[in-house]
Amino acid sequence: MFRQPRSRRALPLGLFAAAVFALPLALHSPYALSTLTLIGLYTIVTLGLCLLMGYAGQASLGQAAFVGLGAYGSAILTRAFGLPGWLALLCACALTAAVAWLVGIPVLKLRGHYLAMGTLALGVIVNIGLREWRSVTGGPSGLAGIPHFALGPLTIKGDLQYYYLVWALVCVFLLISLNVVDSRFGRALRAIRASESAAESLGVDLGRIKLAVFVLAAMYASISGSLYAHYMTFISPGPFDLDSSVQFVLMAAVGGLASIWGAPFGTATVVLLALAIRELALAIVPQAGGEYQAVVYGVLLVLIMIFLPEGVTVSGMRYVRERLARGLWVQKVRRGGRGL
């Protein structure tokens, strides 16, 4: 009933991978490539957030903190201890998972708004830690000179190589997430979102499942952070603050919180829209700063939640599918996720 046939999952994923592979052939500007790489990095975080918020219904307003832990973990391990990139990434991921596990045990007892505020507070605490623990994190000025990502004898360098590395990982994480959602675990997540008490009465171990998905989302975030650090070769606490956490929520919400496929599209929409707004604002007001972006973000978030609570991608896809179905006389329209 819930499980899709493997071929139905393989086809879109194959198409997606092909598109991802082909895209740089059509693009020649390094600016476009680096934007796409960043979209890929954010997509990985958003995927985790979709599982956590969309499927399990557990809010997190501190996801950027886990990205930061991954980024700083990788940066410190490669700079100070000379670990190769892949090993640093795995270690940072394990450390972040451990932190998420320890933090998750008490915090996930909270529900709804309380959980959101709890994760928000934790995110702010981590960010203050990154700023103030100068001897380790370099304080507000951050860490520079992070080596490029080394994968065995291979060193990833340049926008194109990072693009392929990041998007290959995006495909892997998409596959993992799609499998997770269709598994017994995924059904448990949806059961929790629908009703915690009902899920518990049916034998779902609430504490363990919530903790597992929280740690999973943190690991996604950490890996994205590690790659971000290597790609940028410089990190500061700025990109890992509350605004970024909110931005990840926005990306997930635009794509459709309960939609794995929504994540890459939501992320891309938000990033590209932000760029477009900046260009537009600069064209109208030459000295415009980033504030217009945030104003539009805010309005968008409100509008999407009121009019398209399932997310732009999901609603859009349903519309297309319904039109197709009407045309082809196909009765069954598979419903996507049901928003929050």
Partner: protein, 352 residues
């Protein structure tokens, strides 16, 4: 309730962490006091500052608690409403300072500023309720939270877009009563330096809170608010216009926040578009600390948080830069160990 092994493990881990933290805090504080590295005047001046700051937190916390009491939602954008009032208040008091009104009739200028600030905050809050919250009253609970974040971004960056990123500074106000300058004065009593402004702020906060309490307990509107908080549908059947009461609740909370903003700016001076965020979350902490939805709880929670924040960094030998960590830590700990707050037992169990 049946208990299972993993839950017990969780519980014991949490309890262990809590007890260790508490023991550490007590020990550190006791050590600092016994060693006598700080004189009694240090603690006294911190206490006075803490009470004033706590009064501000309490006033803002009331906005969270009032809304939560009726709608069971956290008005995430309340910090921005506090900021908006303070910001617009700046323009009024600055104009007064330029025109000389502030020097001649400081009382009148302050009242004008406060009224404008409160009106701005109320407008922002009512708009927020109408646009971002009312359409979602029956939506799942995470949805209004996300729109609230959106609204918060919108307000914050609209102010940045409109008025720029430069820090605005409230002008110095001299309000003499007898020979004492209530706002800008500094007086030495022995080795203790006293700023009367802290007493004024604390006193005003208490007066406003008392006013709110009377309004809630003694007036028809207050009765309607309590009825809606108890049960919206029944209240509607009794002929109460629920929408109107909800708007009034938002407006009341916002008016308190606007007044608090001006009082805050009297001693803190600096106004920026980001000034709402940290006090907003701290006020939320205060509301949770006292038991969210509970009005006396918010007042108590605000004062406790203000005093804790003012005295604990010295008591624990912490870096002052880490002051914010303290407040956020308190938030996380209270949420985990006593989500019902100090006074909120019955209320929160029913509604959390």
């Amino acid at each position: 309730m049946r208990k299972r092994a993993p839950l017990d493990l969780t519980r014991s881990v949490i309890t262990a962490i809590g007890v260790t933290l508490l023991a550490y805090v007590c020990l550190r504080a006791a050590l600092t006091v016994v060693r006598g590295s700080y004189s009694a005047t240090t603690y006294a001046s911190q206490l006075i500052f803490g009470l004033a700051q706590g009064g501000i937190y309490a006033l803002v916390a009331l906005g969270y608690t009032l809304v939560y009491g009726i709608l069971f939602m956290i008005n995430f954008a309340h910090g921005e409403i506090f900021m908006g009032g303070t910001y617009v208040g700046y323009f009024v008091i600055d104009a007064c300072a330029r025109s000389g009104l502030l020097a001649q009739k400081p009382g009148l200028a302050l009242i004008l500023t406060a009224i404008t600030a409160m009106a701005t905050s109320v407008t922002m809050a009512v708009l927020l309720e109408r646009v971002a919250y009312r359409p979602l009253r029956r939506a799942p609970r995470l949805v209004p939270l996300i729109t609230a974040i959106g609204a918060s971004l919108f307000y914050q960056y609209s102010f940045r877009g409109l008025f720029g990123t430069t820090v605005k500074v409230y002008p110095d106000v001299s309000l003499h009563v007898g020979r004492i300058d209530l706002i800008s004065g500094r007086y030495s009593i022995g080795s203790l330096t006293v700023r009367p402004v802290y007493f004024v702020v604390f006193g005003m906060a208490v007066v406003l809170m008392a006013g709110l309490y009377i309004l809630i307990q003694r007036t028809k509107l207050g009765k309607a608010m309590r009825a809606v908080a108890e049960d919206k549908d029944t209240a509607a059947l009794m002929g109460i216009d629920v929408d109107k009461v909800i708007v009034a609740t938002f407006a009341l909370g916002a008016a308190l926040a606007g007044a608090a903003g001006v009082m805050y700016a009297l001693y803190n001076k600096q106004v920026t578009h980001t000034m709402g965020f940290i006090p907003g979350i701290k006020a939320f902490t205060a509301a949770v600390l006292g038991g969210i939805g509970n009005i006396p709880g918010a007042m108590l929670g605000g004062l406790v948080l203000g005093v804790v924040e003012a005295t604990f960094p010295t008591l624990l030998g912490m870096d002052v830069q880490l002051k914010d960590v303290l407040a956020f830590g308190v938030l996380v700990l209270v949420l985990i160990f006593r989500p019902t707050g100090i006074l909120g037992e019955v209320l929160s169990r029913k509604r959390a």
